[in-house]
């Protein structure tokens, strides 16, 4: 239970277990109730909301008064917009049972002259005062040497009320409001009424919204019928309950549980190429266009979506979405992974340092090189575009996807380093001190194909090789899955460290799908790869044209190394934290310059010889 000075906010649900840094507890509903019954499952920003309209709380923000917040119509402001007083009445308002001086004063005021005044004519909230700050609900405009007050519309008036603080001392009346009537021009007129009080406590001592809100009041302002909002609202703020987009079917050869539940078939070697597509969740399920890619604009999406009125009767066609994909039932539990002999900490450390770290580096640069080998859309002349419609778009897409995988591999390299320094810190007596791994590793006399320092253009064969490299169930995936098990099951390691390996492994699936996507995008040109490939050849290591790019690479790697070393020590030193930040930013700046330099070279047919000997590339 959470005790607060003026009331007891009983938790709307309880945690099942105490939170730990790596694993926050999920709220637990009572026996028999779903998580979907919890206030945690509903969207709290509302215009007007899905489960109920939280703005309705502010209608009664001041005890004894009820407000409305009209905006303006298309005809423009007419002077009646803002916070209108609907009525003043203390009857049935439990706040007037509170035993504080201000409550009595307010009751006497509303029962006396102030109440009498407020009963006549239309009153508006004029100003709120809290902590010596007075905010008037008007915009001030100078017109012909006179001040003209334009009432804020309901939206702004509501926000100002929403921003009133509630002091935890229930006896402290720290809020003054002022009400006025208005003349025909919307100008405040007549004697104002000032009331002193306090913003209402919206929750009672049991954690329920105060009884002053009558049944039906909290949903009164919502759309009618609810399906109108579900389809028609331009808000899209509620994706957690009402997705904008879902993933089309994603192939995951590892996902045996899902396959067992009949939701997806495991990918076979001869799977047809399946795009990783986003589908518009609100698409009409009966329309032939239902499987068309989600659109980039609302106007573009409109024809494919359910219509107003139609949705009222067919909303149950909408699919539930689990882990981003449409599925109307939870999958079967995961089957246990086959047990392997657990590796030792030394083996894990060595594998990260000598195998996985260099591998991430090599892949990042191989993918980057392949990106440089694809022509930029602006290099396509009109005649070629006319002969190959859609070529420019395909090039942009392929380059973008390939580059995103390259950047992702650089991120993985960073995470491998984080795992290394975390392991060394956890087992200082057993493992060597941390040294950054930012390079292709020590040259091996007979490297395995994955570690080969090759730079290739993105020919169909090379893309197929990339698909194979990242394939779930392949060598890389298997190694990370084993690493996850090792890190998770060893209490000596920082809790949650295994999540780094989980993330890399999960990204591998994404990379696999992205490469399959590139295969599909470039498939129409497979017979004539010259259509999409630059005439690119790796520059010689001593080619002066490549020297600036290599210098940038060297500087970037030096900054990464220095940044990683500092970050490993940052948990003990503010100076190292600041240094890590500065060096990582510097490394990013150099990488941006490297991208520009690489593009310029590639347009001239030269590829950066990324694996040319660089000083200090091996293990720092």
């Amino acid at each position: 239970m959470t005790d607060t000075p003026d009331r007891l906010v009983r938790p709307l649900n309880r945690a099942a277990r105490p939170p730990a840094p790596d694993s926050p507890a999920y709220p637990e509903p009572v026996l028999g109730n779903s998580a979907a019954t919890l206030m945690d499952s509903g969207v709290g920003n509302c215009f007007p909301g899905l489960e109920f309209d939280l703005r309705q709380l502010d209608v009664r923000f001041f005890p004894g008064l009820v407000f409305a917040f009209p905006g303006v119509t298309p005809a423009g402001p007419d002077g009646t917009q803002g916070a209108q007083l609907v009525y003043a009445d203390t009857t049935g308002d439990p706040d007037f049972d509170l035993p504080y001086d201000w409550v009595g004063e307010l009751a006497r005021s509303l029962g006396g002259p102030a109440g009498d005044a407020l009963a006549e004519g239309q009153w508006y909230l004029h100003a709120v005062e809290q902590k010596d700050r007075r905010i008037e609900l008007y915009d001030r405009v100078v017109l012909q040497n006179a001040i003209h007050l334009i009432p804020y519309e309901g939206e702004i008036a509501w926000w100002i009320i929403r921003l009133i603080e509630r002091d935890p001392d229930p006896a402290l009346a720290d809020l003054v409001i002022e009400l006025t009537r208005r003349d025909a021009n919307g100008q405040p007129a007549g004697q104002p009424v000032r009331l002193r009080g306090k913003r209402r406590a919206y929750l009672d001592g049991e954690g329920m919204i105060s009884q002053v809100y009558r049944p039906g009041e909290l949903t009164a302002s919502m759309c009618s019928p609810w399906t109108h909002d579900f389809r028609d609202c331009a808000c899209q703020y509620w994706a957690s309950n009402h997705p904008d987009v879902v993933l089309g079917e994603v192939i995951d050869p590892n996902d045996r549980g899902r396959a067992q539940a009949g939701q997806a078939d495991p990918a076979e070697e001869d799977d047809p190429l399946q795009p990783v597509s986003f589908l518009d969740w609100m698409r009409r399920r009966t329309d032939p266009a239902r499987d068309v890619q989600a659109q980039t604009t609302i106007d573009g999406a409109r024809p494919y979506r359910y219509d107003p009125y139609e949705i009222n009767l067919v909303w149950q066609e909408l699919d539930f979405v689990l882990q981003g994909q449409e599925a109307n039932a939870t999958p079967a539990p995961d089957l246990p992974e086959p047990p392997d002999a657990p590796p030792t900490a030394q083996e894990v450390h060595a594998d990260l340092r000598d195998n996985l770290g260099p591998l991430e580096y090599i892949l990042a640069l191989r993918y980057l090189y392949a990106t440089f080998s694809i022509r930029a859309p602006e290099e396509i002349d009109a005649a070629t575009e006319a002969a190959w419609p859609g070529l420019s778009d395909d090039l942009r897409a392929a380059r973008q996807i390939l580059l995103s995988v390259a950047i992702s591999e650089m991120t993985h390299l960073r995470w491998v380093n984080q795992m290394l320094w975390s392991l060394s810190a956890a087992l200082p007596a057993e493992l060597p001190a941390y040294r950054p791994v930012v390079g292709p590793g020590l040259p091996a006399p007979d490297p395995d194909p994955e570690h080969a320092l090759r730079l290739d253009r993105a020919t169909p064969e090379v893309i197929a090789e990339f698909v194979a490299l990242e394939r779930p169930g392949g060598d890389i995936d298997t190694e990370y899955a084993e690493l996850v098990a090792h890190l998770r099951d060893n209490p000596a390691y920082p809790p949650g460290l295994f999540q780094l390996a989980v993330r890399i492994d999960a990204d591998g699936l994404a990379h696999y799908n992205k490469f399959r996507d590139i295969e599909r995008i470039l498939a129409p040109y497979a017979a004539r790869p010259g259509i999409y490939l630059r005439d690119l050849a790796e520059a010689a290591a001593d080619d002066p044209a490549a020297a600036p790019a290599l210098a940038l690479l060297r500087e970037a790697l030096a900054a990464l190394r220095e940044g990683a070393r500092a970050e490993a020590a940052a948990a003990r030193s503010n100076a190292d934290r600041a240094l890590a930040e500065a060096r990582i930013i510097a490394a990013r700046d150099r990488m941006h310059e490297l991208w520009e330099a690489g593009e310029a070279l590639a347009r001239r047919g030269k590829g950066i010889p990324f694996f040319a000997p660089l000083p200090e590339t091996a293990h720092g």
Binding site: A25, A36, N45, G216, C223, L318, F320, S404, S408
Partner: protein, 596 residues
């Protein structure tokens, strides 16, 4: 809530000082299936191939079954954990979420200690009462039409009273209150079905301390999610325009649809709700948005007179014990299904209520990292289903309109503004805010809608998913927040200031500064930087959409969304600590305490 089993002597002692229902508020979710949805919980999925993310897992479910083998009479509950949660039934109907409310008593022991006790028949008997003296009153209402027409006779209200041992299904049949001569929207002879409530007979056998199937429970099952209207609301041409746009009264271009089932055309035609128009007499109206009903999209915005079978309701339990009347209340809301049950809102109803009611969250090395991690996990979960490309296009187009840009596609119309509000938003020109997105989308120029075709997917949506999936991982998040605190400060959109932090008149002075560094460790000198300010809802600059997080999403009343003030303050305080206090960083990195 579970109660510790106690011996009979202990249970017999004490006085009852109050009742309460648990939960105090619950959301019900509509569905036309007669089978309620199985219970499920959120759990962490750590499958290496899918990444760390929230999933839903089946939970102990209370299944109602007849006490009598013939299937007649009262129902009782048994506990069953299903193998799967199936969200629709065999006929494709959505299963409703029908919450239970447990009745508890607060009992003061002779020692003075106050503890919760489940209210059961035996409990009531010990205190001289019984189930037949325990009364429930449930009042449910749908006031959507009333809120527009300002006429009580357009409300639909159901009120039922029953004893706890009356195990029948009590239908919430709503009618419109009215006086002689007034036309009720919902006629008494054709009530609006808002669902039903039910209590259950105690299960036989010895009660289990974990499940207490002898405890008094009330279940609310909501309506089907249907629309109801007058006979006129049969079929009509739907506006073919995008949400928020209005079509002139030329209606032959849209598709024609039925809007209610024939059997649901039971409302009065003579209520002003049929034909109501938000634009009538040009005076502004509440609630807003004013066009939030069927019929509003086609000029002149005449309502088709539709309401639905959703509602909110108050449940009250009353019993007299030892000469005192004890009561307990709870609320339920009938809302739409949660169609993405494993994706949680980053800004939930709970967050909003806590922001309004609670003092700032305490900064605590034992709890704050978990709270922030949970926030970022929820951010990912919401972001993973957002079409950011559409959001960006919508928001930047709106900016151009608000700022009077002559050409919304001109990448320079907002030159000099930071963050950028036009097509350069989230592009390299939007420094220092844009950083990763331009890296990942080098082929995208400064355009409102991305250059995209069938191959390219949704470039901005793809990036947000990729970047935020990482932030859901504990070590990645902790390292990022430690390494780049200033980046996070710049990138997270500040909430609006409290009244006392806003200038008396907007524009003359800026709102109060975000107190960066307030929670720095002693002796730490922050690097000089420009002050971050809370936002002011009265200014155009602070209500324009930019790429700060959450990007391009909409808050209450249609302004750019921020996290709550309470979430923001905690995040800023945490960044201070991570920036300045090695002990906090060591803890975030999971290093042994002695090393810190």
């Amino acid at each position: 809530m579970t109660a510790e089993p106690r011996d009979a002597a202990e249970e017999a002692g004490g006085r009852v000082i109050g009742l309460f229902l648990d939960p105090p508020m619950a959301i019900a979710r509509v569905g036309a299936s007669p089978e309620p949805l199985e219970a499920y919980r959120w759990a962490l999925d750590e499958n290496p191939h899918r990444g760390v993310q929230t999933r839903v897992v089946p939970a102990p479910t209370l299944v109602a079954e007849p006490v009598d083998v013939l299937g007649q009479g009262p129902m009782r509950l048994r506990v069953e954990t299903p193998g799967h949660v199936t969200f629709k039934d065999a006929e494709g109907r959505v299963k409703p979420v029908a919450p239970f409310f447990e009745l508890w008593a607060r009992v003061q022991r002779p020692s003075g200690r106050i503890e919760p006790q489940p209210v059961t028949a035996a409990f009531l008997a010990r205190h001289g009462s019984g189930l037949d003296a325990l009364q429930f009153t449930v009042v449910a209402a749908n006031r959507k039409a009333q809120a527009r027409t300002k006429r009580a006779a357009d409300a639909a209200i159901a009120r039922i009273v029953f004893r706890a041992d009356d195990y029948a299904r009590h239908m919430l049949e709503a009618v419109s209150p009215h006086t002689e001569g007034e036309v009720p929207l919902v006629r008494p002879d054709a009530p609006l079905p808002l669902g039903h409530v039910q209590t259950f007979a105690p299960a036989p056998g010895t009660p289990s301390p974990a499940t207490r199937l002898d405890q008094v429970r009330l279940r609310f099952t909501p309506g089907k999610g249907d629309s109801f209207g007058p006979p006129e609301a049969s079929q009509a041409v739907a506006s073919p325009l995008a949400p928020g746009d209005f079509v002139p009264h030329v209606t032959e271009y849209g598709r024609i649809h039925q809007m209610t089932r024939p059997e649901n055309r039971i409302l009065s035609s003579d209520s002003p709700w049929l034909g109501y128009s938000f634009g009538a007499d040009d005076s502004p109206k509440w609630p807003t948005p004013m066009d939030s009903y069927d019929g509003a999209r086609i000029d002149p915005g005449h309502s088709w007179g539709l309401i639905d079978d959703t509602c909110d309701l108050v449940i009250e339990a009353r019993v007299a014990i030892a000469g005192q009347l004890l009561t307990a209340q709870a609320r339920a809301f009938a809302g739409p299904p949660d169609f993405a049950p494993d994706r949680r809102p980053m800004y939930s109803i709970r967050d909003e209520l806590e922001d309004r009611e609670l003092p700032p969250a305490p900064l605590d090395p034992d709890t704050t990292p978990a709270e922030i991690l949970d926030l970022f996990r929820r951010i990912f979960e919401t972001a993973s289903l957002v079409n950011l490309d559409q959001r960006r296009h919508w928001a930047l187009s709106g900016n151009a309109w608000m700022h009077g840009a002559r050409n919304k596609d001109d990448p320079q119309w907002d030159e000099g503004l930071a963050p950028r509000l036009g097509p350069a938003s989230m592009r390299r020109e939007d420094a220092p805010y844009a950083d990763l997105t331009p890296d990942y989308t080098p082929g995208q120029g400064a355009t409102l809608a991305p250059r995209s075709n069938g191959s390219e997917r949704l470039p901005y949506t793809t990036v947000v998913q990729q970047v935020h999936a990482r932030m859901a991982d504990s070590p990645v998040l902790a390292a990022f927040l430690s390494r780049r605190p200033d980046r996070v400060r710049d990138l997270v959109r500040p909430p609006f200031g409290w009244v006392a932090e806003l200038p008396a008149h907007p524009g003359l002075t800026p709102p109060a500064a975000v107190p960066v560094g307030r929670h720095h460790a002693a002796g730490h000198e922050p690097a000089p930087r420009g002050p971050l300010r809370f936002r002011d809802p009265r200014t155009l600059a602070d209500t324009s959409y930019d790429m700060r997080m959450p990007p391009f999403m909409r808050h209450s009343m249609g302004v750019p969304l921020s996290v709550t003030r309470r979430q923001y303050d905690l995040l800023m305080a945490y960044l201070d600590k991570l920036e300045s206090d090695p002990a906090w960083r060591a803890q975030a990195a999971g290093l042994p305490e002695e090393d810190a």
